[in-house]
């Protein structure tokens, strides 16, 4: 089983729709430890992506990812713009020219994406950032590939790992981004960036598993 180009486009559409629903929730999370704009920014970026999707539908997956990344870079703003922009641009480079993705391809794409986020934001694990959701997801994907698990099992494992990583940000003291200014007061709150990153990985699992039932 593979992830087709249509699957990729569906994933982006479902994620954009989820952001509409979760916009206020993400902003609430950001109000607690940041500056109350993460939901609105992500929603603005993915609405811009949606408006560009019709022009992308005959491109390869790498080009689609890069176009999504460039669109986010110029529409999201804040730290989320460069970070989610880098995520998609680097994922696009990793799967350049491909019209479908195996689980191994998807693991490569998400690994390159996470490396892009790390090099732009310079965060490491447990800094209380999106890296805390992405890195476990990448590791779960790679482990699933090496064990020869199915696409749906691999996606499920990565979503579970991202969710655990997201929840694990709650007790952490932030060391990057605006939340770090709060010091100890940032503990006890779930990181909004880790949350939107979990949604990304979880939406991939749900959308792609459904389409292959």
């Amino acid at each position: 089983m593979v992830i087709t180009r249509d699957d990729v486009i569906d994933w982006i559409k479902v994620y954009a729709q989820l952001l509409v629903e979760k916009k206020d929730y993400l902003t609430d999370l950001d109000s607690a430890i940041g500056d109350a704009d993460h939901g609105a920014n992500m929603n603005r970026g993915f609405q811009a992506v949606l408006s560009k999707l019709p022009g992308m539908e005959d491109q390869d997956i790498g080009t689609i990812f890069k176009t999504v990344g460039m669109t986010l870079l110029s529409t999201v703003g804040g730290a989320g713009g460069p970070l989610y922009g880098s995520l998609f641009i680097q994922a696009g480079k990793a799967v350049s020219g491909k019209m479908e993705l195996t689980l191994a391809d998807w693991a490569d794409a998400l690994e390159a994406a996470t490396t892009g986020v790390v090099s732009r934001g310079k965060a490491v694990l447990e800094d209380k950032t999106m890296v805390d959701a992405l890195t476990p997801a990448v590791e779960a994907l790679k482990e699933s590939v090496s064990k020869g698990l199915s696409l749906s099992e691999g996606l499920k494992n990565s979503a579970k790992a991202a969710e655990e990583g997201m929840i694990a940000t709650i007790p952490l003291v932030a060391r990057k981004g605006r939340a770090s200014y709060l010091g100890e007061r940032s503990a006890g709150h779930q990181d909004p960036g880790a949350t939107s990153s979990f949604y990304l990985v979880n939406t991939a699992f749900k959308t792609w598993t459904n389409s292959h039932k």
Partner: protein, 333 residues
């Protein structure tokens, strides 16, 4: 939420349209990507100076575009960094052949977006230098935080570097000057109330009627310490003591004292604060040789203040006194 706006998502665009209509003698406004440039940009042979950041801090930065200060400003959404495409377009628009300086406030988003813009500009053969402003003593500067925030001192850096560029100083000289001012100035702020980001629709944090927040940033981020409301004089001491002991400022120093309003605090209160701040400075033997009092770097409708001290020398005084003609600050013209 009670605001004089139409739609939250139209606020910045409509503000820009207002600025365009109000100040055609000073600035030109460009849309998609959004940026404001001084009307005679690019000025041939002069270093271009750009700043930018989230909207909601007016008059900073758009109100400081004009002769003697900024060549361009890039406004983001409210409290959200602008994007690299805006900064790149602004950089090209103000490049008069002597290079462009980016003045960046130290926030994760601002720094990352300006870095990406500088990378793109350099790829296109433009000469760009960036200086990051981080003057907020409320924040611990350590490996475990994103570093000190850029706050009130930014206004003074923009004025002083604007004057230096107008004098014909080189990109390296203007960038070094910005770093020098950043090393000599410190700020601390406080809030009496929160503020409401239009698209959030409710206050960023709750602050009870009888409490205040010390060490606040300019984006409604909670500060580091919450306490019962104190008198103006006690608040000034709470802000001045960490500033003075930080560099530290010493007896005999000459300073510029900047008492800033956060947006919801009237001038009558800022002058009450200024009076006490001068007294505290003098008690330490510090001489206030220049001042700035008013809402210059705001946080929407937040009530509160920030105090900035900048150690001055003859060159800085000359640059501070140089003419400036912008919507938000004008003197000597």
């Amino acid at each position: 939420m009670k605001k004089l706006i139409n739609k939250p998502e139209e606020v910045v665009k409509e503000e820009l349209q207002g600025i365009e209509l109000a100040h055609p003698d000073l600035v030109k406004v460009f849309y998609d990507p959004d940026f404001i440039v001084r009307v005679d940009a690019p000025v041939k042979g002069k270093v271009g100076i750009i700043s930018g950041g989230g909207s909601g801090h007016e008059p900073m930065h758009g109100g400081f575009v004009g002769k003697g200060m900024l060549d361009a400003a890039c406004p983001g959404a409210v409290f959200t960094s602008p994007t690299p495409d805006q900064m790149l377009a602004a950089t090209k628009a103000v490049d008069g052949g002597a290079g462009v300086l980016h003045i960046v406030k130290n926030y994760t988003g601002d720094v990352m977006n300006f870095e990406m813009a500088a990378d793109l500009a350099k790829e296109e053969g433009l000469e760009v230098e960036a200086v990051v402003i981080d003057d907020d003593v409320a924040v611990k500067d350590s490996l475990y935080t994103a570093g000190r925030r850029g706050v009130g001192l930014t206004v003074l850096v923009e004025k002083i570097c604007g004057a230096a560029a107008e004098e014909g100083r080189s990109l390296k000289e203007v960038a070094d000057l910005a770093r020098k001012v950043n090393s000599l100035g410190r700020t601390m702020g406080m809030a009496l109330t929160s503020c409401t980001v239009p698209h959030a629709g409710k206050p960023t944090f709750d602050l009870p009627e009888d409490e205040m927040e010390i060490g606040i940033g300019i984006h409604g981020e909670p500060g580091r310490k919450r306490m019962k409301l104190q008198s103006a004089d006690e608040v000034v001491e709470m802000l001045m003591d960490p500033i003075i002991s930080d560099i530290p400022y010493k007896s005999g120093d000459e300073v510029l004292l900047f008492v800033n309003g956060m947006g919801g605090t009237p001038l009558i209160e800022l002058y009450v604060l200024y009076r006490k701040a001068v007294e505290v400075a003098e008690k330490h033997g510090i001489k206030v040789v220049r001042n700035l009092i008013g809402p210059y770097i705001t946080s929407l409708e937040m009530a509160g203040t920030s105090i900035t001290m900048l150690k001055m020398d003859a060159d800085l005084i000359k640059l501070w006194d140089a003419p400036v003609l912008t919507a938000g600050m004008r003197k000597g013209i």
